[in-house]
Amino acid sequence: MAPYESDDSTSAGEVDDLRSGRRKAARYVVPVAVVGVAAATIGLVPALANSGDPSLPKITAQQLIEKIAKSDVQELSGTVKVSTDLGLPNLGGLESGLLSGAAKGRDGSSADPASKLTELASGTHTLRVAADGQDRQKVSLIESAAEYSLIHNGKDVWGYDSKSNEVYHGTADESGRKQHRNEVPATPKDFAEQALKAADDTTSVTVDGTAQIAGRDAYRLVLKPKHASGTTVGVISIAVDARTGMPLKFTLTPAGGGAAVVDAGFTQVSFAKPAASTFDFTPPKGAKVTEEKDKADKRGERSHEMAPSQKDLGKSGAPKVIGKGWNSIAVIDSGAKGGIPSSSGKGDLSGFIGSLGDHVSGKFGKGTVFSTRLINALITDDGKVYVGAVTKDALVKAADAGR
């Protein structure tokens, strides 16, 4: 705030004009200095905060992977920032409207986890996670003045959308529990598990120095596909907490270069036991509660492969996987002749979707390729869907071979 001692200038008449003019100008140094200090603070503080990577004892890639596998973090709470940039065509609200509309069509509640998770497919989101053992977990998607929470407490699974005041209720049995956790591949740990599952002899795994993530010392594990010809995956980098072995940050860079496709990392993490009240949930008065219906046949289609299940609007059978390692391609027979329209448009929407893809043809016949920066999908006119983190050519080749 402005200092007091400069009050004397009210008697400006006493000093000559030149001096007073200079003094007038000199006063503006104060606001300019404040702006300068603020700009310097904004510029310098992050740079100072990231001062140097921590020095940790050397570790081999194998040891680090074992460390992740052994990691048994039961209690934690933290904030995760997830940025996904799949390079989907930018349609503004229309795109998310289509996606969530498709998901909502299944059982019509905005609190259904499936309809909410499609939102994670693009943009930057902040999640809060809390866990206390196997039976109690909570994931909240922070929205502007609203929040979507998925709470697992004992045998209940609650989804609560505060914006529309809607509640989704399901139950978790022994077998369902694991699947419910898989439904939310949002934390760095989930991403890392998926990536390490895919890492076999087609992958080169190295430890590339250390990093500081959310105030904790971490090793950086780097996964690279060895045969980079077919896949769109460039480099996967996982920061692993040096003490607990928990993945703290996951970054996937596409082979094509540019910004990371997926970047999920803790911005704040604590391994203390979260308050028990965190996992308590009773539906608020007047909230619309949707019970999970015939969950057995829903689970299967929801648990994996969000991308194809959106594209075929849930009509699919179980996917078959061809290929190996990073070049693997999931094949889904949607059974619908005509598939999604490359030629025969059914109404405006299908024609519109068809126009987003590239039309290709080969020995397999004709089809449409939908591409993102990571995942490409080929939908043939006879209703087969080929999806994978592979190039367009690899998809066409796979379709030809499958003929």
């Binding site: 503006y28 929040e147 929470s149 529309s164 005041n165 608020p284």
Partner: protein, 291 residues
């Protein structure tokens, strides 16, 4: 004013500042203009409350009420306390800052316009002290205006809707007393969100001698900034616009509270207050007072 004047015969004492502040506060809050602004602000929650009440009277709450409208509006029918949050969310983008812009813009320029600024400076208050007093008065108005909205909303909410324990937006339950505490905290945060604009308005007010021009400029700047904040291509500068984190007050309704944006908001307001407060001081303390 009389007590203050008798003290002011000798060198200004610290008490003189409070005398000046008191007379400023009384003058500001007794203006018809100020009372009318507060009246309009108090009417907003009544309007929202009655509208929601009429809409949901026929039975079940309108199914998808949460898709549009201000934040928290879907929960009002179940708990009247949410009307406080909804009313603040509805007035914060425009009504509240507009009222603050009018008061802040009028602070110095209004005195200059009506020819009373000279007489204020004849008393040995000093320009810096007068400016500080004006700023504190404006901030007091921010607080009063926010509380008027909150109290009116609470009254309407209690009259039209049930009260009781409430569910935070994270899905956890808190008691009604805890909810009231949070409502008060939210009102304070909303008032603090306006301090940056108050400093900006005060600076504009020192630049011109026309009260109307200062008010119009301040409100114009407010609208400009709100529009800039909506344009996606300008995302690089948006975190530095004073209105960018305004709606972060809703983060107080999370459990645990999500502090990141709240802290950013308060830091940003402090920065605006420092920059434009010192700019107003630089301008006002060296200004030729002709009116």
């Amino acid at each position: 004013m009389s007590r203050a004047e008798s003290l002011a015969v000798r060198a200004p004492s610290p008490l003189w500042t409070f005398g000046l502040l008191r007379s400023e506060l009384v003058t500001t809050f007794r203006r018809w203009r100020t009372l009318a602004l507060l009246g309009v602000l108090a009417a907003v929650p009544v309007l929202v409350g009655v509208a929601v009440r009429i809409e949901t009277r026929g039975g079940a709450p309108s199914g998808r009420g949460g898709e549009g409208g201000p934040a928290f509006i879907a929960q009002i029918t179940n708990n009247g306390l949410f009307l406080v949050f909804t009313a603040l969310a509805a007035t914060l983008p425009f009504f509240l800052p507009m009222a603050v812009g009018v008061i802040a813009g009028d602070a110095i320029a209004g005195e200059a316009n009506s020819g009373t600024l000279r007489y204020l400076l004849v008393a040995p208050a000093g320009r810096t002290r007068l400016l500080l007093t004006k700023y504190v008065t404006t901030i007091a108005f921010c607080l009063v205006a926010t509380l008027v909205v909150a109290v009116s909303a609470l009254a309407v909410g209690a009259l039209l809707f049930p009260l009781g324990d409430l569910t935070t937006i994270s899905g956890t339950q808190i008691t009604f007393a805890d909810g009231l505490g949070r409502a008060l905290l939210i009102a304070l945060v909303v008032a603090a969100s306006l301090t940056g604009l108050a400093a900006l308005g005060l600076f504009v007010s020192t630049v011109t001698n026309s009260g109307i021009a200062a008010m119009a400029t301040t409100v114009g700047l407010l609208i400009t900034v709100q529009i800039l904040d909506q344009i996606p291509q300008l995302h690089a500068i948006q975190p530095y616009l004073f209105s960018h984190y305004w709606l972060s007050f809703a983060d107080l309704m999370r459990e645990p509270v999500y502090w990141d944006d709240l802290v950013k908001n308060l830091e940003l307001q402090a920065l605006y207050a420092a920059v434009f407060g010192s700019a107003a001081w630089a301008r006002f303390s060296a200004k030729d007072i002709t009116a």
